[in-house]
Symmetry: C2
């Protein structure tokens, strides 16, 4: 594999950052995870916009290089990938002094890619069956401590949640962890937004809560509007999910992923989930 580091393609083994880089020392870095379909970066503008928002909130509004899209395409091309996972990271780089961020920034810019199978109507399944999800004790970051809209290298909240899924023999008990916010309302998975159907209405936690504005979440809400599926966003107690008619997760690589089990309760893959997954596949099929 070849990765892109500070404007150069380098072999994955040689793709490094200095130990003094703030991205390493403090997780002081913004990132985005994207999906390439048939050589096209899906929802590039939405990801770029969110990356810009994260960078601004980190006090580094002018660090995204003009040729970022090219760097990503070069990395995909260098690895001969038409379909892949892409991770773009922008760190505050190395700065003099200690913790206080300085306005003068020489960012470190990294693009990593991984191969993924073709998606869309003619594509391969994105997962081995419906997701098994477990609610964990770890709560989503408090919005006053780490704003939930920031997508950064401070990902320990999700790591701690995933650690709770580990069985004693080292196997993993679930595909994702469901996190509540510190007030006990449903937030999201560690790397996915959550949706549920209740009385014919599609529900998902609103962006006012401790959640990330997932790009896939936005696409699914658009598809629901196109399909005339009634939608409500709000704050929900976990009991609402437990009693829901259908449940699914959304994220960039999993797309629309039905939940088959939540905390030991079984869920059938319902008609609205299937309808949305099909519409998503059709949307993606246009890239092939």
């Amino acid at each position: 594999m070849q990765y892109h580091v500070n404007g150069e393609l380098v072999p994955a083994e040689a793709a490094t950052v200095n130990v003094a880089d703030r991205g390493f020392q403090y997780g002081d870095a913004a990132f985005e995870t994207l999906r390439a379909y048939g050589g096209t970066l899906f929802k590039w503008n939405a990801h770029l916009e969110r990356l810009q928002t994260t960078c601004e909130k980190l006090g580094m509004p002018a660090v995204i290089p003009d040729d970022l899209h090219e760097r990503v395409e070069e990395t995909l091309d260098a690895n001969d990938l038409e379909d892949g996972y892409v991770r773009v990271s922008i760190t505050r780089g190395i700065q003099p002094g200690a913790l206080t961020p300085k306005p003068d920034i020489d960012p470190t810019i990294v693009v990593i890619v991984k191969e993924l199978p073709r998606a869309g109507v003619e594509g391969e399944p994105r997962w081995d069956g419906p997701a098994v999800v477990e609610t964990v004790e770890t709560r989503r970051n408090h919005p006053d401590a780490i704003p939930p809209g920031l997508k950064t290298h401070n990902y320990l909240n999700g790591v701690l949640a995933r650690l709770e899924l580990r069985n004693e023999d080292g196997t993993v008990a679930a595909d994702d962890a469901l996190l509540l916010d510190t007030a006990g309302y449903v937030a999201e998975g560690t790397t996915a937004n959550v949706f549920f159907m209740e009385n014919g209405v599609l529900h998902t936690p609103s962006l006012e809560g401790a959640i990330l504005a997932g790009v896939t979440r936005g696409v699914v809400l658009d598809l629901a509007a196109d399909l005339d599926i009634p939608v409500e966003t709000g704050r929900y107690r976990p009991e609402r999910l437990a009693e829901a008619d259908e449940l699914f997760l959304t994220n960039t690589t999993g797309e629309v992923w039905p939940v088959g089990e939540l905390d030991g309760e079984q869920f059938a893959v319902g008609p609205v989930t299937e309808q949305l997954a099909k519409a998503y596949d059709e949307l993606i099929e246009d890239f092939y």
Copy 2:
């Protein structure tokens, strides 16, 4: 400078971690900051114990190498340092798959050092006068999201707090930010614990709150006991600090640092602060 990376001394410029390292990607790493005085690592056992606690809570209980103390000494020696700042980091390394941590760990172990002046009774001042401190809007991480006892590369909460201190012209308005917890009680500085004197009693937030158990905090509490200074720990509203008779910060490199200004209010350097700073200096003088 030379740093220590995975058992080897390397020039600082060549001290790197791979971009796939979880320490970089997720801030999935434990660290400690230590002080060497006259060639001796101060409170090594206390730092090692806290590092072990962090590693255990990160689900990697057996990653600290037996020769960690040697690695730190080698790094100090290679740079000809008797007095210095030391940062030891242990990451979960590179693992297959995505976010879920795997039990099989090949940790990345990094030792960084910086020169510091001699301390103790005969030493140079650790700071340019009393600290200027500002209470910020950013709240300390919620204990249910990121346990405060963990010292990790997820340091964005402190970075965001420090960003609030930045003036429009890029200068910095204060030496440290004071963070409250999400319930509005005093927590700590971004890299320091906070103490205040009130009616002849030394107060500091208790370890039950959203704070780190600072090693220097522990040393100062021991010194206060030796000096028969009455101590109380608890949860305090910020008004208590604003109305305190004396105020100071503690951390590994600043030791006992009087606060001269909090949110625009002036504080004189009081007798108990001076007494504790002197006792700290005497304790350190033994290392020369």
